[in-house]
Structure formats: C-alpha cells, structure tokens
Symmetry: C2
Subunit: 474 residues, 2 copies
C-alpha cells in the first residue's frame, strides 16, 4: 500500500463502496453524532460558490479537539481515505471538494481563542475562528487582525490559502502575519512549526511551508498570529477616474512614492454599478479607487494630501470622504460583499474566479489588455482589485446551461493567467491553486520548481491522504 518514499501515490476515482462503508463505521463509532454521511451535509461540505462542480466527500466529521484530528488521521490512514479540511467553505478554487471521496474534516467548532498576548502583539487561536470573530474579540484590546478576504473566512482556511485582502498593501498577507502553526502530520504527530519570537534563524522555515499548502501537507489545528495596533486615526475615500488606466497609474505612483496607504482598491465601472445596486450606494459610475489611510491624525492628513495630488495629476478627482466610522463600515461592507454584488448583475449565472497578480509596473498594461480581451470575448466580466499589490480579480458571469459561454470564459481565464505570468506575475495572488489553477503551475514555476514541490509532498504525505487533487497533479 505505501508508495515509494519519493513518489506521491496517485489517486484515481473515488473510494470503493466497501471502503466507504468500513470507513463510515469507524467514524461513526469514534465520533457519534459529530459524524454525518447525509447527502445534504456532504454537499454543503464541498464547493458551492463558483462555476466549479460540487464534489462531495463520503462523510463529514466535526472535530472539537486536537485529539479528534489525530484520531481522524489515524482512521483515514488505516482505510487509506482522503481528508479534506473544511473551515467555512468560502474557498473560490474548489479546495473543499473531494474528487477522490474521503472525509471532510469540519474544523469550524475548533474556534477557541487560546491566548491574546497584547504586550507581544500576537494571539494564539484554533483554526475555526473567523476573521470577524477574532476582531470582535480583540475589540477592547487596542489591537486588530488586518487580513480581510471578502468572506468571513476561518483563519485556518486563510492560512492554508495564503489569503490576503484589502489591507495587505500595508499590513501584509497571511505569509507575513502567521507567526507559527500547530499541525497534525500524516503520521498523526502534533508539531509546532516555530516559537513566538518575532524572528528566528533556527532551521528550515516550516511555518511558511504549511501556509499556502492548502491542507495537502498537514492539518492546521493551532495558529499564532501577529496583530497590529488599531490606528489612532482612519480616513477613507472614493475617487473617480476617466478610465481604468488612469486609476492604475495613480495606484502605481502611490506605491512607488512609498506612501504608506492602508487600502487601495480598484472598481471598474461595471463593478461600481453592481455595488450601487447591491449595497444601495450612489457612487459615480466611473472607474474608481476606494482608499483608506491609517496613522496619527497628522500623518493621515499628510497622506491624504499627497494622495490627492497624485490623483489630480492622473486626471482623477471627485473625492467623497467617509470620515464617520459608520460611513466607512458601509463602504467596506460593500467592498467585502463585492462577490455577491457582481453575481447579482446576472441572476442565475455562476461566476468564474480569477486572481492574477503582476509587478505593479505592469498593472496598467495587464488590466488594459484584459479589458480589451473582455470586450472581444463578449463576456459580462466585472473587475475589482487590490491594486496596491498588483492583484486584480475579473469575474466572468456565465450561464452554466450554455456550453459555448463556459468555453469562452475558460479560454478567457486561461489567457488572463498566462498574460499575468508572462508579465512576471502569478495566476493566483490570494485564492490558492485548488483545482483549476493547476493548469498554470508549470508555466508559472517551471518543471524544476514543481518537482521540488512534489518532493515536499512526497516527504510529508507520500500516501496522498491530505487533500488530494489540489495544487498539482501527481
């Protein structure tokens, strides 16, 4: 059964019915009513958000403790069954799908906040804690956790996809803010990947190896996170531009001059229209930047003045300032609901998720070429972007009954990914590889780097128990 140590065992198809029956008997005996094999629960624990197929697991287990996870790994190892970690299911790339069957490990009940070390600006949590719950908990501490993907994702999921969001331009991504992890490995060992020291040169960086590994190397059961101090002053605004290129150029200049902007988000006209409709806003229907400044009162004022000058030089203007907290909350709530706002542009259609990120010097080129491509391909495809990082999302909205439209959207997404890679960028800035981005991995990394990744997988999980079918084909 065990593969040769430097080969990852290739899985084909799903588990045999007799294996599923034996597995489920084991799981039921160990987990009781925290085990389910019902159709509805299995389907809820697979991909539901975009055009990707729903591929349910054979069973779902709700873990409550680290011991639950260790025991689940042992049972699945014995039955040679895949384990697919599940937080809240907000992945856009099919990470929670179970193409080879097995068990969805629902970690949402492992949601304890184990420690907040305010003096050290860090905390230790379980993986099922969501970002808004953590920030609600931190409310009176003067601290916050800045990473904010659109969904109220679990932090285990965010660590596993190396997530980011609107604050990343100032505060970094999960790769910068995960201090260390507690992980259950394929042989059932609990391992801590590092200490709470702010820096260390003590051996290989296991923390960064598990961050972004999409659950394929081990199960994250504990996370130490860096926190940031709540800024004394915050100021947010929208401003409009005659075209997307001008908005991109203003962004590029902002970053290049080292302005410590906290958030700088692009919306194309179509997205503005979607936001207005979905979130009852009345933003001017033109390409727009949505920005926020953090600092002391004096520094926020200075940043805002400098940014205003850059916007004016690039032909933009029409600033609308959100100075009151509730105005800012409304604006950012609309931004975080952007995915649903875009979907509402075409009821019944399913969105494709794209996630390209390029060096900022190529941002305007990449967005402009992409707009031309959208126009040529006849797709309805709004754009939003964390443009301070060079990252933007185009979401073609597709009638799933129309094979031609699906084909056109797939071809478009492929051209977009290869365009970003050709510009020195990546096919995925923050969503992860999951299932459909596997196709671009060799173009982005080259065969040699992919071989090193497979070696890591083979060294940690040669039997391919953990989330098979994600990141690469084996």
């Amino acid at each position: 059964m065990a593969s040769s140590p430097l080969t990852v065992r290739k899985r084909e198809g799903r588990l045999a019915p007799e294996t599923v029956a034996a597995l489920n008997a084991d799981l039921s005996a160990r987990f009781g009513n925290r085990f389910s094999a019902s159709d509805a629960i299995r389907r809820q624990h697979a991909h539901t958000l975009t055009w990707l197929e729903n591929q349910p697991p054979d069973a779902v287990v709700f873990a409550e403790t680290r011991e639950d996870v260790v025991d689940l790994v042992a049972i699945c190892a014995r039955r040679d069954a895949p384990i697919v970690p599940f937080g809240i299911g907000s992945s856009l790339e099919g990470h929670v799908n179970a193409p080879h069957g097995g068990v969805s490990l629902d970690l949402s009940r492992m949601n304890a906040i184990l420690a907040v070390n305010a003096q050290d600006l860090d905390c230790v949590i379980e993986p099922g804690v969501t970002r808004t719950r953590l920030n609600a908990y931190l409310h009176d501490s003067g601290l916050f956790f800045p990473i904010d993907p659109g969904a109220d994702a679990s932090l285990g999921g965010m660590a596993s996809t190396r997530a980011s969001g609107t604050n990343a331009v100032r505060y970094g991504t999960m790769k910068d803010l995960v201090l260390s992890l507690g992980v259950v490995t394929a042989d059932g060992t609990f391992v801590r990947t590092g200490t709470r020291a702010r820096k260390s040169s003590a051996g290989y960086d296991l923390t960064h190896l598990f961050v972004g590994a999409e659950g394929t190397l081990g199960i994250i059961v504990e996370i130490a996170l860096k926190l940031a101090g709540l800024p004394e002053a915050v100021s947010a605004a929208t401003c409009s531009f005659p075209d997307v290129r001008s908005a991109c150029n203003a962004t590029i200049e902002t970053i290049q001059t080292g302005l410590p902007i906290a958030r700088i988000e692009l919306l194309d006209t179509l997205s503005v229209r979607a936001f207005n409709a979905y979130s009852r806003l009345s933003l001017p229907e033109a390409p727009m930047l949505l920005v926020e400044f953090h600092g002391t009162e004096a520094s926020v004022a200075e940043q805002a003045a400098r940014f205003g000058a850059i916007v004016a030089e690039n032909g933009g203007g029409n600033f609308i300032w959100a100075t009151k907290p509730e105005e800012r909350t409304k604006l950012w709530k609309a931004r975080h609901d952007g995915f649903y706002a875009q979907m509402a542009l075409r009821p019944g259609a399913r969105p494709f998720a794209t996630d390209t990120c390029v060096p900022i010097s190529r941002l305007a080129d990449c967005v402009e070429e992409t707009l031309e491509d959208i126009a040529r391909s006849g797709l309805l495809a709004p754009i939003v972007g964390h443009v301070g990082d060079g990252n933007f999302h185009v979401s073609p909205l597709v009638d799933m009954a129309d094979a031609k439209e699906i084909e056109a959207a797939e071809a478009f997404a492929s051209r977009l990914a290869h365009r970003a890679i050709a510009m020195g960028g990546t096919c995925t800035g923050e969503h992860g590889v999951g299932q459909k981005k596997i196709a671009y991995m060799e173009d982005e990394h080259g065969a040699g780097a992919l071989d090193l990744m497979r070696r890591v997988k083979a060294a940690f999980d040669p039997r391919n128990l953990f989330n098979p079918g994600k990141i690469f084909t084996v």
Copy 2:
C-alpha cells in the same frame, strides 16, 4: 552509494586522500586558476571569526557563472564530495567550515546587479553582492536595501542565514525582503522559486524554504530582493538609562504602542565602554538605547516626541541627537563595528557568539536574568541587542588557552539558549544554527518538527552533498 530517499546519508570524518586527489584533478581541469588547494586559501575559506575551530575544505573554487555552479555540483556529486557555499566568510556560527572536507564554493565573484526595477521597488542580484555595495549602487535611485548585519555580508549568505540587523524592527528580515531565489539543486537543475509578484498563493513556498536553509538544500545563484524608499527625513539619537531593565521596558513600550521606529538598539555599560574606546566616541557610560526614526519631517518629529515621553517615563534621558548625516554615519558605523569593539576589550581573547530572541514581553526578564548569570559566572561578556525584535547578543570573551574558561562560557551559552527557549523564544534570532546551535534544536522545535526538517533535507539532498554538519545531525 545513494541512500534510501527518505534518509539523509550520514557523513563521518573527511574524504579519503585518494578521493580528494581525484576531486582536485577534476576541479583543476574544469576551473583552472579559479581552483585552489593551497593551505592559506583553504584556511581563509573556513571559520575564522569566533572561538569555533577552523575546519578547512579540501579545495576552493571561485565561481563566476551559474554554469560554474552547475558543473561544480556535477563534479562533487560524482566524487560524493561536500559543497560548502562561501560569501565573505562573516558567519558567526561555523557555516563555512568543512567538517567533512569537500569544496568551498566561493561565490564572491558572482556579484552582478542584474536588474533594478525601481518602479516595482525590487532588484535582482547575484549572491556575491554585499549589502554596502548594493546600497552604493542604489544611491541615486531613491531606494535602499535596509537589512544590515554587522558585517558587510554577501546577500547570498544573508539569505542563507535569514539575517537581519538594526533595521529589522521596521523593515523586516531576509525572510520578509527576499522576493524569490534562483537555486541550483543537488541534481544540477536551476530552479526559480517564485515570480516578482508581491504576493502569490501558487503552491508551496519554496522561497522561504531556501531562505535560512544555510546552504543545505541548494546553492543560491540569484536573488530578487524587495527595496524600500529612502525616507525623506531621518533622525537618530542615543539616550541613557539607570539600568538595563529600564532600557528594555522603554523598548517594550515603544513597540507595544506601535511607534514605527526604524532602529532601536541596546548597549549595556560594558558595550558602551567598548564602543567609546574602539570608535573614539564619548557616549555616557550607562545602559543606552541607540534609536533612529524614518518618515516625513512631520512624522519623524512626532515619533521622536512620543519616544522621548516613553523614555522619560522609564527613568531615562540624556538624549544626544545626531541630526547631520555624518554624525549618524559615525554612530551606526560604531554599532556595526560592535563585534570588533567588544573583541578589543580583551586583546587575544576569542568571542563566543550568542543570539537569543524572545517575545518582547519577556525581554527585560531575559536580559536581567542573563546579567545575573554573567555576574555569577565571572565572564567578561558585553551585551548588545536589536531589542525592538526581542533579540540580543551576549559575547563572552574567552582565553582559548584556559579550558575552564571555555567550559564556563559554553555552560553560560547553553543556559542562555535554554532560558530564551523556555520564555517562548529561539536560540538564534539571526545568525543561524551552523554547528554549535545544533545542540538546542530539539529543545526549541521538538522531535516532530525536527523530523519534518530532516524529511525536507532527505527529499532535496539525500546524499548530503550540501553543507553537511550544519542545522542538524543526521
């Protein structure tokens, strides 16, 4: 010859004389006068800086191109000979020693600056470029590379030890500023570990796996680095405290309030005395913080005022401001020469290098307990620290003819490392593991994490060609 894939081949002793002869014949034929087996050059290419033994390689090869490195790896693989990468030899932990013989790969001639992408705030360089040379090159670009270990180290070496220095509290360490690497693997393949995009979720983080790997997983031949904009305004100062605990407490408060200080360095009284003597300064002989603020004129003034208030609250004062660039340069030159200044306290003695780093809330405790330990052990042991990160160095100066003194220093260094680990910290914040910190790896990481590190080594370099005898025993 080849070990089983998931075992790292254990090396014992040095290469046999006939292997060395055959190896050197191969190297001489391929590299001509860029090969040397002279005693003097071999000794220069092993450890020379601290109390650790000098363990020369069998030969030295000066590489000039990536092809040189690929060919050297092939020759060494054929002869089963270790390869020890060498930058300028400023490692403090025996990284450049060759306990099992083999070839020192001198990369100092691979020192081209391949690209400066000012618009993207990044550059691409070869590993032999030193930090001061890179900054001299960047001089007119408005950009700089902030990481500054004491020595004018090569950036390949700095990447390999996950180095930091005085600016890390604001700008991060090598783990934060290496964007991607070009690496030659044990089978001679050239691999790029990532793109120039600022963020990516495209698979395993190979970049961070090679950063800090101390040359044990592959040879770094190309580095893409993030750069920072030169601050508009800079202001530096020293201030004095009645005792080290007060200085630590002021540091802790500075960090906890989120003041974006660029540098905050601790010197104990003994270090101040050493700096005064070596660098002809007249700093007040008391525990001292040496700080620097970066930003706009207004923000630097604001930061300085806030810091001043924190210092006063902690019983410190006696500020001396270095406002002119030449005054600042003198102060920081003295800081970077600290290692030599400390050595000059006791001519003829050799320094031990220690490098503990703890969560900042434990900094004052750790430093104070360590001072008591120094007093009890009767060692001459000055302290300096990058205290904003919780990182400090104690350097016992030891008469190498006195076995008892060596023993006392080793026992002290061991107590210090375990003390930091017990406080949730690390035995090495920025120097790396090298040879003598191997002893603390299991206490710091646990057996499970060490096993994962060994698996990575086994997956990438099962024959143990790359820098054997560093990071862990196999």
